[in-house]
Amino acid sequence: MSAAANISAVEVVATSKIFNQGSDKQVDALLDVNLTIQSGEFVSLIGPSGCGKSTLLRLVANLLEPTQGSIRVNNKTAAQARLDQDYGMAFQQAGLFDWRTVCKNIELPLELKGWDKNKREARAIEMLGLVKLEEFGNMYPWQLSGGMQQRVAIARALAAHPPLLLMDEPFGALDEMTREYMQGELLRICAETSTTVVFVTHSIPEAVYLSNRVVVMSPRPGRILEVIDVNLGSKRNEQTRAADGFFRSITAVREALRGTHAEHVAANAIRGAEDR
């Protein structure tokens, strides 16, 4: 491992998040989460709906404030990292701006950084090359397919060359074929740009295929149950999906998740019994 890999990109320490604290709508979304992500790592967060994985991502992005604990990104407070645009973000919906061309969409974060026009345009063209959409710069988002829109969203998220990419189920709305293609593309792009990625997903094979580590979370209140190392090497391709190691890791993640599922069902059964 290189020296750079030992710098932590994200440090979440004893962090909890409670929504509507004190009211009868109180939701304990996250409970005492500790997670350190090294620079250059690809880490997936996986768990059932409502396990707080999106909440954790938004805490790292400083779009939410933690109720307790501290979060450092790039060796700064999360708030400072956001102000410095140290991360790029992509969501399940591409969230492109309909009134901007593809190029102008990619340039938006650069505009907000105050870059001049020539520099922005040059970077947008570079990013279009990275996501292989060179010919589509002057089109409008609705003229592209869902997968292409998502690639533009990734290009936009990486336009400022941030060291960290935060992704919230970015391929969740795509069909299976497009999804696998996009996974390959994402790995290629991250390798080319040596970007650290935190990736929220529902899909076990997706998490395993992409990640160095898979973080398995429990249902509400969200806790980290297990962190599973995926040893598939750094070069992954279509053969990886048929490899024994791939299936072993899938089974490991599934068992970790099933454990939480069993607990969850048992807890509900007990709660149900108490209600009676």
């Binding site: 992005a61 779009l63 956001r82 102000l83 410095d84 645009q85 991360y87 790029g88 973000m89 969501f91 919906q93 969230g95 701006f97 309909d98 009134w99 901007r100 938006l108 974060p109 505009e111 907000l112 950084k113 409008y140 609705w142």
Partner: protein
């Protein structure tokens, strides 16, 4: 759209219009309806071309009132919608009022306004148009400024964008289609309000007052000729609002 399909789109309503006018003419002639009851289309067209200058003069008067009110009302409505989107509590106070005012015929207020100004003043009419347009524009543009997609706001916050940057790069572009929707409603409404305002006294120089005076003199066909002028004016306003919209759209939505 190909030229052929466009031609098809126009042909059907055109045939319908011609058949309708022919039926009208036929009924008037066939049942020997008296001109004071219903004028024949041929007589109306005849009157229209006989009185082109006067109809044009009246159209200019009503059209100017409508245009002035439309422009002032739009400017004020847009300005106020910015204030409302900035201060949400104000919006909660004003929006229900604005929506309910859209539903009632507030142009009858012109009768009261006429009392406040000299009888020959065009100000009450223009003021009335302004008021009608103002609320239509206000409600729509305020909606466009506030109803932005949450993913866009989250993205902008992740770029550490200021409120002003979010306004300029998300809220304003989002509100532009809403503005043109408002104008499509407001443009014909401004013309209608300008006409109706003339029924409540003041100078007898616009299309609305010419229609009443011709009916009072049993010149039915002439009155219809002025109605035709009024239709053309309303159509002109609507067409311009649609052209403006298509110019600014440049392929945004399908």
């Amino acid at each position: 759209m190909t030229i052929l399909s466009r031609a098809k789109n126009i042909t059907a309503p055109l045939i319908f219009g011609v058949v309708f006018l022919a039926l009208w003419e036929g009924v008037v002639v066939g049942f020997d309806l008296k001109p004071y009851f219903l004028a024949a289309p041929s007589k109306i067209v005849e009157q229209f071309f006989k009185n082109t200058t006067r109809i044009w003069e009246a159209t200019v008067v009503s059209g100017t009132n409508a245009l002035v009110g439309l422009i002032v009302g739009t400017v004020l409505g847009v300005a106020m919608s910015f204030v409302l989107s900035r201060f949400r509590f104000l919006s909660q106070l004003v929006t229900p009022l604005a929506i309910s005012l859209n539903a009632i015929p507030i142009f009858v207020l012109v009768a009261v306004l006429n009392n406040m100004y000299s009888i020959t003043s065009e100000i009450p009419r223009r003021f009335m148009v302004t008021l009608v347009v103002y609320f239509i524009v206000l409600v729509n543009v305020a909606r466009g400024l506030t109803q932005v997609r949450s993913i866009h706001v989250e993205l902008m916050r992740s770029y550490a964008a200021s409120d002003l940057a979010i306004l300029r790069k998300v809220r304003v572009p989002n509100a532009i289609p809403y503005l043109f929707t408002a104008l499509k409603v407001a443009a014909p409404a401004s013309v209608i309000t300008a006409f109706v305002s003339e029924y409540f006294g003041g100078s007898q120089n616009g299309l609305g007052s010419r229609i009443t005076s011709n009916i009072a003199n049993s010149k039915n066909a002439a009155a219809w000729a002025y109605v035709l002028g009024a239709c053309l004016l309303g159509l002109a306003f609507y067409t311009v609002s649609i052209i403006l919209e298509s110019l600014t759209r440049k392929g945004q939505t399908k």
